[in-house]
Amino acid sequence: MTRCMTLAEAIDRFVPDGSVVAMGTCLEAAIPFAAGHELIRQGRRDLTLVGPISDMLFDHLVGAGCVRQISAAWVGNVSAGLAHCLRRAVEEGVPAPVEIRDHSNFTIGLALLAAGIGAPFIPTRTSMGSDLPLENPDLIESTNPLNELGEPIVLVRAIQPDVLIVHVQRADEAGHAHLWGPLGVTREAVLAARRIIITAEEVVPSATILRDPNRVIAPAHKVAAVVEVPGGAHPSPVPGYYDRDHAFFEEYHARSRTLEGFEAWLREWVLDLPDHAAYLEHLGAARWQALQQTRETV
């Protein structure tokens, strides 16, 4: 059975308006930028974004007006600085207000872990004494019922994404996918999410995947779509495939400082391009080639 389709079809069928979408679960690596751009092209609205840290992608989606709420630990541009679109949205309501439920990396991981094991919450000692539980209704200050002294504890409410979009090195048509490098909260997210969209550098024969089932990141029967998108994580890196395009993050940071600058950037890199192949073409072969890694043997 094949679950292969185009990115446009996968986003159209499996990420309706209003969805709770987890992305960027490997932190700064293997961010599904191509899928995020397709969400923008299709004009998706009222999304809730879930992730640990977002290195630029959430800022694109906020700037494009796709987002109503964010549950995350960090939204910015890791090597360059603040997220300008997020600033405009939160500070000025431009293009639309966004509600942020501030997590720490650990609590967003625990929220996904809880959903994946069917627990309504997980208790933790992180974030106690901080302002996070005061403003985020998903972090509940409580006391430990197993402790006679009633020691304080924070209950992290489970978060179940409607869909997880994860970019991987390779997958087969049925949805068995190999992911390596930093896994971030991906193992928790594949269990937590109702369904999964895989974008892959390569679609390969099943035998290539199944010879190493320990590297398979998700149960294939939860995978709704497999999309071959070479370079689909650019400008973030994919271990074994390509390096991070640091300059791209800097360029976006500079251009997105103003609303007009962001809008021009968005037209140039997303709206005026039909798909990710056109994006790579626009990037240019020389720039793209320079990022390629010698393949690891795994």
Partner: protein
């Protein structure tokens, strides 16, 4: 030998790492401090990266982010965020690094928002792993450019708790970790007294206690005897500059 205030800050941060320490490295500047420590006085230090990596050797190339392929290659472990945070939460981290937009005299850090919830002036990126490091690490080290709008009387939002309102506040709210041991800035090193309040422990060679106080947003306590921070050694500066030849982290202010 010349060096920049930022180089002074990173090298001084590196010295907070003891040999054999487990270091929660985090993002941005601490990446450089970890490498300097590994290449000088703390070759056996172990680095935790919340993306899911543990390193026992410094990376072979400059890291822009902890998830760069250069940080994966030769890693001692590549797992998940909850794994690494679990190790943090169970007391395995000796020292964790934090940065932020604002810090107060009790070492409480704000990386979330300038202004109020209703009228935010600057929306900052948020906690990342900072709240977790602040909660659990045996000690934390805060890195911060020194300026009155950064070292403030009161932070607008406590993202990463230090000593709260001082005294035994951490115990009262149930925080297991030890709290901040230093604020290292571009001008000096602040440490904490038994009430959890910061005082000037040393000022960098190119400044004075008076300048440090003038650029601090609260009435900074300066003891009668305050040291000059030892300047970077040649070995430290070389380790830093070999790691970051183009000044990606050294140069930025």
């Amino acid at each position: 030998m010349t060096y920049t205030p930022r180089e002074m800050m990173i090298v001084t941060a590196a010295r907070e790492i003891r040999d054999g320490d487990v270091v929660f490295v985090g993002m941005r500047l601490p990446l450089a401090a970890f490498v300097v420590a590994k290449r000088t006085h703390a070759p056996r230090a172990i680095g935790y990266f919340e993306c899911g990596l543990i390193r026992e050797t410094p990376p072979a190339a400059l890291l822009y982010t902890m998830s760069d392929p250069a940080n994966v290659a030769g890693a001692a472990w590549a797992g998940g965020l909850v794994d690494v945070m679990g190790l943090l939460a169970t007391g395995h981290v000796d020292v964790g690094f934090l940065g932020g937009a604002q810090v107060d005299r009790f070492g409480n850090l704000n990386t979330t928002r300038i202004g109020s919830a209703r009228a935010p002036k600057v929306r900052l990126p948020g906690s990342g792993g900072a709240a977790d490091i602040a909660s659990f690490a045996q000690r934390t080290v805060i890195l911060m450019p020194h300026a009155p709008h950064r070292l403030v009387e009161e932070v607008d939002y406590i993202t990463s708790p230090g000593y709260g309102s001082g005294g035994d506040w951490r115990t009262q709210v149930g925080l297991p970790g030890g709290g901040p041991s230093a604020i290292i800035t571009t001008l000096g090193v602040l440490r904490f007294d038994e009430h959890g309040e910061a005082y000037l422990a040393s000022y960098h060679p190119f400044t004075t206690p008076e300048e440090v106080r003038a650029k601090t947003g609260w009435d900074l306590r300066i003891p009668h005897e305050v040291d000059i921070t030892p300047p970077p050694t040649e070995a430290e500066l070389q380790a830093l500059r070999v790691y970051d030849p183009d000044g990606v982290w050294i140069g930025e202010a």
